[in-house]
């Protein structure tokens, strides 16, 4: 099942719909990394609200995706991880270190907006998190 990637302002938003196979995840990763360049996006949001299991492969793919996105000049934030999923992830030892997270889509957008502002000169009061 392909994950739809929406373009909104200069952000890309990928909303995961259901249980994903490894192949779906790889396609999502490659698609996002490619589109960040094509649309000159400044930010990427991956919405995992509907994801019910995050195992080591999914977590690793997300981490790789975040790093690749950064190399391509955009910020990535993961939103919507469910409490049970977060609980299982830490038990398994998956903590997505170095990947930004936010509660939901709204918070993710706010986070990217702040990061965008912080990067602009003259607004030094905002320290990057």
């Amino acid at each position: 099942m392909l994950v739809p990637i929406l373009k909104q302002r200069d952000y890309l938003i990928a909303t995961i719909q259901a249980a994903l196979t490894d192949e779906d995840l790889r396609l999502l990763r490659d698609g996002l990394v490619e589109q960040v360049g094509r649309y000159r996006s400044r930010g990427v949001i991956v919405d995992l609200t509907a994801l019910d299991v995050m195992d080591s492969f999914a977590a690793r793919t997300m981490r790789d995706l975040a790093h690749m996105t950064r190399f391509r000049g955009a910020e990535m934030v993961i939103v919507g991880i469910q409490p049970e999923v977060a609980f299982s992830m830490v038990q398994l030892g998956l903590t997505l270190e170095g990947v930004s997270t936010a509660l939901d889509l709204e918070e993710g957008l706010a986070y990217l907006d702040r990061r965008g502002k912080a990067k602009r000169p003259g607004k030094s009061s905002m320290t990057a998190r």
Binding site: T21, R60, L92, G93, L94
Partner: protein
């Protein structure tokens, strides 16, 4: 359930969650079971190419639970203590993920013979 393609991983964990929910596991517990199944099925696809996952119900009189058996005839694990050692950092690699699975579940048993295959049995009791 036979496991040899990536899609089987998704099917196996979905079955596991359904079974856990049927037993009245909380959503958190069901997620733990589904995640463990996902890791075990992934190990099969990754290392043995082919194997099976068997799910069962447990009842010891006082408690009920779920048992997951992951069996393959793959290369086997030469150093079991090393494979299940509980280092806190599973450092994100595509490692065997067995220590993680052990933390997710209540009971964990493994038998493996190089060249013959590996069987992992894990159990989770309903709280």
């Amino acid at each position: 359930m036979p496991v040899h393609r990536e899609i089987d991983i998704v099917a196996a964990r979905r079955e596991g969650r359904a079974l856990a929910s049927l037993l009245g596991f909380s959503s958190t517990e069901a997620t733990l079971v589904a995640t463990a199944i996902s890791e075990l099925a992934r190990n099969i696809v990754l290392y043995a190419k082919q194997g099976e996952i068997v799910l069962g119900l447990l009842n010891d009189g006082n408690r009920r639970g779920v048992v997951v058996v992951a069996r393959d005839e793959g290369p086997g694990i030469p150093d079991i203590p090393w494979a299940v050692a509980d280092g806190r950092s599973t450092s994100g690699g595509l490692g065997l993920g067995l220590p993680g699975v052990r933390r997710l579940m209540d009971e964990f048993h493994i038998a493996s013979e190089v060249g013959k295959g590996t069987t992992v049995v894990v159990k989770k009791w309903k709280r």
